[in-house]
């Protein structure tokens, strides 16, 4: 249809021809259809254009979804809340829409006087589309700001993480940053596992997520926390840490490391402690230590399991052992021939070296590999440090390693090994998530035989009754606890220092039916009273006893003072030839 033919139309219309009129209106309707298709085409085109826009969903570099995202609540093994989400409004501004910056600044400061006027002025001036003004306000404050009616200010409802327990489980839970992303602990682990994925899919916005159940028992955690806090006043310790695991399932029931931080204020993790930096890390997983004599339990387990050492064997501990220009001697040694159990009880370095040598240094090194001592700990916390264990043992390195020097592992490595030693030799990976025994069994990995395990239980209990663990046993009477002390001299300026020590106690209870293994560290303990000592039995041991005394009833372990239970621990080989000074073998006290 051309304009030329249309131009002729009015003249025809004047003639009043119905035919051409109807032709004309039809032509005009065709024009209308053409025009409307054009209009709807433009609308569709605009839609396509909008659909092709790559949306900038970030807020100052963070995705908006992540900010409003919810996180699953974290519960302890009994369903107590350890971390929850609360919804809080956050104030942002769109500077390009603010009409009068001065007025906005003045008005805002009537509600938020803590904001610096100059800072606020600079913040609200300019052409940006989004700036935070103040995040995580209370609803009341947000409402007052809303009532000011300042254009260009708006709120985003953010999820804020709250930890009802405060500092108590700080190293387990970790923390989230202001954008609600896990930055430490289980929070970060959850993000790495699946929460991040959920949030990416948009499923985690504005809705409740299924809670995550941890293996932690908040009651046990509380007891351990309060007892370890007590070491700071009682022994003037500079740090303390502890971990308790369920030997059958590998679940961590409690994990405390002091000094700690407040997960509700994550910046507190970087605060100085006693004028020093970096003191607030998790000593259980990301601290590695020469654990000293507690490591002898490992040496004994390996040696007895190799079959080359029996409990009834005797070892010459009369003289120190020379390695080149070094001589290794015993601390308050007996300097006589000792039986295997006496070596353990008196914590003889000489005897332990001889036991290790009877086993063979390469077998000893292989046993450490079997226990995973030279591998990073498998635990759901990002804060981990690799253990330092020499690749090949020379004579002297093997000798020092046998009593826990010259190699550094995390306390959790030790706890895991202790758990395996008392759990019929079955090692199970430790976890912070709830797990039942049925789920744990397929993960079992035998590291020593059940017979060896029985003998280690006997040694541990023996040490608690007669040896360095007796102060512990006095505290936790009736709970059949056993363990090994370790007082490791700390390296100060490249030399071992006898005044600065790390006291460790590695234990398990109740030994007639082993359920829990625990490792307690007290860093640089002082004498409690002038009469007391500084070795581990005086501090780490007593702390262990106090913890056992408080948590055992909660965990359903009834105290039982019957000596029959202790006697039942004595292996058959020992029962035949009881050492005279061994109370376990002799009914009388």
């Amino acid at each position: 249809m051309s304009l030329a033919s249309e131009a002729a139309v009015p003249t025809i219309a004047l003639e009043g021809s119905r035919k051409s009129r109807s032709q004309l209106t039809r032509a005009r309707i065709r024009w209308v259809i053409f025009g409307l298709i054009l209009v709807f085409g433009v609308i569709a085109g605009r839609l396509v254009q909008l659909g092709s826009v790559v949306v900038e969903t970030s807020i100052e570099g963070q995705t908006r979804d992540a900010i409003t995202a919810t996180r699953p609540p974290i519960l302890d093994r009994n369903g107590l809340e350890m971390a929850v989400d609360i919804r809080v409004p956050s104030l942002f501004a769109e500077p390009r829409r603010i009409i009068d910056v001065e007025e906005a600044v003045t008005a805002l400061r009537t509600v938020l006087p803590e904001l610096d006027a100059d800072w606020l002025r600079r913040r609200l001036t300019g052409d940006r589309g989004f700036v935070w003004v103040k995040r995580e306000l209370t609803p009341a404050v947000a409402d007052r700001i809303f009532q000011l009616g300042i254009p260009g200010l708006d709120f985003v409802t953010e999820s804020k993480r709250f930890y009802p327990g405060g500092r108590e489980a700080s190293h387990i839970l970790g923390a989230v940053n202001i954008d609600n992303q896990g930055i430490a602990g289980i929070e970060k682990n959850m993000d790495d596992r699946d929460v991040a994925l959920l949030q990416e899919l948009g499923l985690a916005r504005d809705r409740a997520l299924a809670p995550v159940s941890l293996s932690i028992d908040a009651r046990v955690q509380h007891v351990m926390y309060s007892e370890l806090l007590d070491t700071f006043t009682r022994y003037k310790a500079i740090a303390a840490a502890g971990v308790m695991v369920d030997v059958r399932t590998g679940e961590v029931l409690a994990m405390v490391s002091l000094p700690d931080f407040d997960p509700n204020n994550p910046a507190s993790a970087f605060e100085l402690y006693d004028g020093k930096k970096d003191q607030r890390f998790n000593r259980i997983t990301s601290g590695i230590y020469e654990l000293g004599s507690t490591f002898k339990t490992v040496t004994f387990a390996g040696a007895i399991d190799s079959g080359r050492v029996r409990l009834t064997d005797n070892f010459d501990a009369r003289f120190g052992i020379r390695f080149g220009r070094f001589t290794i001697d015993d601390f308050h040694g007996k300097h006589r021939v000792l039986s295997t159990s006496e070596v353990y009880k008196y914590s003889s370095n000489i005897g332990t070296i001889r036991i290790m040598q009877a086993m063979g240094k390469d077998e000893f090194r292989a046993f450490l590999t079997k226990l995973g001592m030279d591998k990073p700990m498998q635990i759901e916390l990002p804060e981990r440090r690799n253990p330092v264990v020499p690749e090949k043992f020379s004579e002297i390195v093997a000798a020092t390693a046998s009593f826990g020097h010259g190699l550094s592992v995390s306390p959790l490595h030790m706890a895991k090994a202790m758990a395996a030693f008392v759990n019929d030799g079955m090692m199970v990976p430790v976890t912070l998530y709830k797990r039942d025994e049925a789920a744990a069994r397929p993960l079992y990995e035998p590291v020593i035989s059940p017979q060896t395990s029985a003998q280690i239980r006997y040694l541990m209990r023996l040490n608690a009754i007669d040896g360095s663990g007796s102060r512990m046993d006095r505290e936790a009477r009736g709970y059949r606890t056993g363990g090994k002390t370790g007082t490791a001299e700390k390296v100060v300026d490249g030399r071992y220092s006898s005044s600065k020590t790390l006291a460790v106690f590695a234990s398990a209870f109740p030994l007639d039916d082993p359920q829990y293994a625990m490792v307690i560290l007290v860093d640089e303990p002082q004498k409690e009273t002038p009469q007391s000592g500084t070795t581990a039995g005086w501090n780490a041991g007593e702390v262990t006893g106090r913890i056992v005394k408080r948590v055992a009833p909660m965990l359903g372990i009834a105290p039982d003072f019957s000596e029959m239970l202790d006697q039942a621990l004595v292996p058959a080989s020992m029962a035949r030839a009881p050492a005279p000074e061994n109370r376990l073998g002799v009914p009388s006290l």
Partner: protein, 386 residues
């Protein structure tokens, strides 16, 4: 009931009504209902009502709407004219009555309230004016001695006068555009058309000069950073962008919850956040189909009156949809205009049902036309067009 053997009115209606057009209208209403679920709960909660307040009322309005649509489509040409004259007379009276008895909302008197129901007469004026205008124009084209065009223009003046006094610029523009469409269809010369278009631009400019709220909207549209209130359109665009091609899914869109008029004028963008731009494209396609189908049906009519009236009504529908969509997509300055059959609003829905019912009735295949040419209606139309 629909048997061809017995010539009941219903059977006759069924075999002559434009079924694809009817189906498309029903589909549009269904879409409107679905979109109401997406868009209106947030608004209802903001107004302190139950979340399903608008959804329920929307569903209740749909029942009479379908009734009116079907009933109107039964009318013959003559009945349609009579109904339109009566309707026009009543609604013009009501329109003027709003000036005196109307309820003032946001500075304008557009609503009449009786028996608890509020009514916007201007919504009803539009379709009736289109039909009567078409009839007058058709008569004037057939018989030169009838001063019908002048009569139509007078009617237009009567309506526009009341609308300007309310004031309601949007409806004024629609009525003026209806009149212009009639002029265009009736075949005035292109010279006159361009002259009128020039006058139209002049009128817009006049409105810009004399109506401050209108001027403000234009200013804000041209310069959105100028401090004008762009909240609604910002949120609408945010919702459209948030949804992307496939939408966030029902209940998942956050941006759409912030749109103040998500249940009414901005239902399109609100639904985009949840159902995505592809859904919106389908919806635009559906509206386009309705408009083109109605216009093609109108074109095929041999009766000049039917042709003019049906196409004018279709153009009205198209303009209303087009303006609403363009506003939602920030293509034109914001102008309150509901999306027919989709936006919440009883008056608007029933008025549109009248309009589209009339389109259905005017585009029905007519056996009497078949008799004159011996060909089916559409064939005779083709012959006439050739």
């Amino acid at each position: 009931m629909f048997s061809r053997a017995r010539k009941t009115p219903i059977a006759e209606w069924w075999w002559t009504v434009d079924k694809p057009l009817l189906a498309a209208l029903m589909l549009l209403m269904t879409c409107g209902m679905v979109m109401s679920f997406a868009a209106s709960p947030a608004v209802a909660e903001r107004l302190g009502l139950s979340p399903w307040h608008f959804v329920i009322r929307h569903a209740l309005f749909i029942i009479p709407t379908i009734g009116v649509l079907i009933a109107t489509s039964f009318l013959t040409h003559r009945q349609a004219r009579v109904a339109a004259i009566a309707g026009l007379a009543v609604s013009i009276v009501l329109l003027w009555a709003t000036l005196r008895f109307g309820v003032e909302v946001k500075g304008a008197r557009r609503w009449l309230s009786f028996a608890g129901q509020s009514l916007q007469p201007s919504e009803f004026v539009k379709p009736f004016f289109a039909v009567i205008g078409a009839w007058l124009f058709a008569e004037s084209m057939k018989r030169r001695d009838m001063p019908a065009r002048i009569l139509a223009t007078g009617l237009m003046g009567l309506i526009v006068g009341a609308l300007l006094l309310q004031p309601d610029i949007g409806q004024t523009a629609l009525v003026l555009a209806t009149w212009a469409a009639l002029l265009f269809l009736s075949g005035i010369s292109w010279l006159l058309i361009f002259a009128l278009a020039f006058v139209g631009v002049g009128l817009l400019f006049g409105a810009y000069m004399f109506f401050p709220h209108f001027a403000r909207r234009i200013d804000t549209f041209i310069n959105p950073e100028g401090g004008g209130n762009t909240y609604q359109i910002d949120k609408a665009l945010a919702s459209l962008l948030e949804g992307g091609w496939f939408g966030r899914g029902p209940g998942e869109s956050l941006a759409s919850k912030a749109i103040p008029d998500a249940h009414a004028d901005y239902v399109f963008s609100a639904a985009a956040g949840e159902f995505g731009i592809l859904f919106c494209l389908v919806l635009v396609g559906l509206i386009g189909f309705i408009v083109v189908r109605a216009l093609v049906g109108a074109q095929a009519q041999s009766s000049l009156f039917a042709r003019l009236a049906a196409s004018t009504l279709a153009i009205q529908f198209a303009m209303q949809c087009g303006i609403n969509l363009a506003v939602n997509l920030n293509l034109v300055p914001p102008k309150g205009m509901t999306l027919p059959f989709v936006s919440y609003g009883g008056t608007s829905m029933i008025a549109i049902a009248f309009a589209m019912g009339l389109v259905l009735s005017l585009t029905r295949a007519r056996p009497e036309e078949r008799m004159t040419t011996g060909l089916p209606a559409y064939r005779s139309a083709m012959v006439a067009a050739e």
